[in-house]
């Protein structure tokens, strides 16, 4: 069964860096939106090559938020 994984790293100041894997296309952004939608202060979104592959089975993406 496919697995979706999000790794959240909360730094010493409470900023969050999120990295996803196992999502199809833009669904990784939607998953992060669901998870961190209330969090404000997104300062960086970096998509990977996998994100742009239409038939990609997996994508990974990092997103960084500042509280």
């Amino acid at each position: 069964m496919p697995e979706q994984q999000i790794t959240l790293t909360i730094d010493e100041e409470g900023s969050i860096t999120a990295k996803t894997s196992g999502f199809k296309g833009a669904s990784c952004l939607e998953a992060l939106e669901e998870l961190l939608g209330d969090t404000t202060g997104i300062i960086q979104v970096k998509t990977t090559d996998e994100y742009h592959q239409k038939q990609a089975v997996q994508c990974s993406e990092t997103i960084k938020l500042r509280n």
Binding site: Q5, I6, T7, T9, I10, E12, G14, G22, T39
Partner: protein
């Protein structure tokens, strides 16, 4: 005729004054509703005054707050002066005493500022800890609500949450 006068640093902070008096061995005592009756004397004593162990004709010399600064109340002629203490004996003139108190007050004021800075540093640090913890708890709660299992690690002062779910 000319004159030069020098005043002390205005004694504005009660805690600093109290510390400075203690440093000089003036054995300060804060007058409260509970102990005021032990200070009945010729000069008026009120709650919140700071009594010293310096006695003169009017009784124990004390500091009272006039709304701006703490002022020493004492007999102008410094008549019948002595120190009321088990350990201190030598009475110094008011001017000498205030001069030494001035130096002690300035030293205690610096410590007071350091204490304030330390308290502020602790407050900011606690805010940071609370912020991180709130972020962690919120992330875990939302992840679990969305069907993720959560594994937590602590790496170099950072919290890593690995959220996994099967689809």
């Amino acid at each position: 005729m000319s004159a030069v006068i020098k005043t002390t640093t205005p004694f504005t902070i009660k805690e600093v004054l109290f510390s400075a008096l203690a440093r000089l061995g003036a054995e300060p005592v804060l007058v409260t509703a509970e102990n005021i009756n032990t200070f009945r004397q010729q000069s008026n004593v009120a709650i919140d005054d700071i009594i010293t162990n310096r006695r003169d004709y009017n009784g124990l010399q004390l500091f009272c707050f006039n709304g701006d600064v703490w002022q020493l109340q004492h007999d102008q002629d410094e008549y019948a002066t002595r120190i009321v203490s088990a350990t201190q004996k030598k009475y110094q003139s008011v001017s000498r005493f205030l001069s030494e108190l001035n130096v002690a007050y300035q030293g205690c004021y610096l410590i007071h500022l350091e204490n304030i800075a330390e308290l502020e540093r602790q407050r900011i640090e606690q805010e940071r800890i609370d912020r991180v913890e709130a972020t962690r708890q919120q992330a875990i709660a939302k992840a679990k609500a969305q069907g993720y299992s959560v594994k937590e690690k602590h790496i170099q002062g950072k919290i890593q949450l690995v959220l996994t779910r099967s689809v």
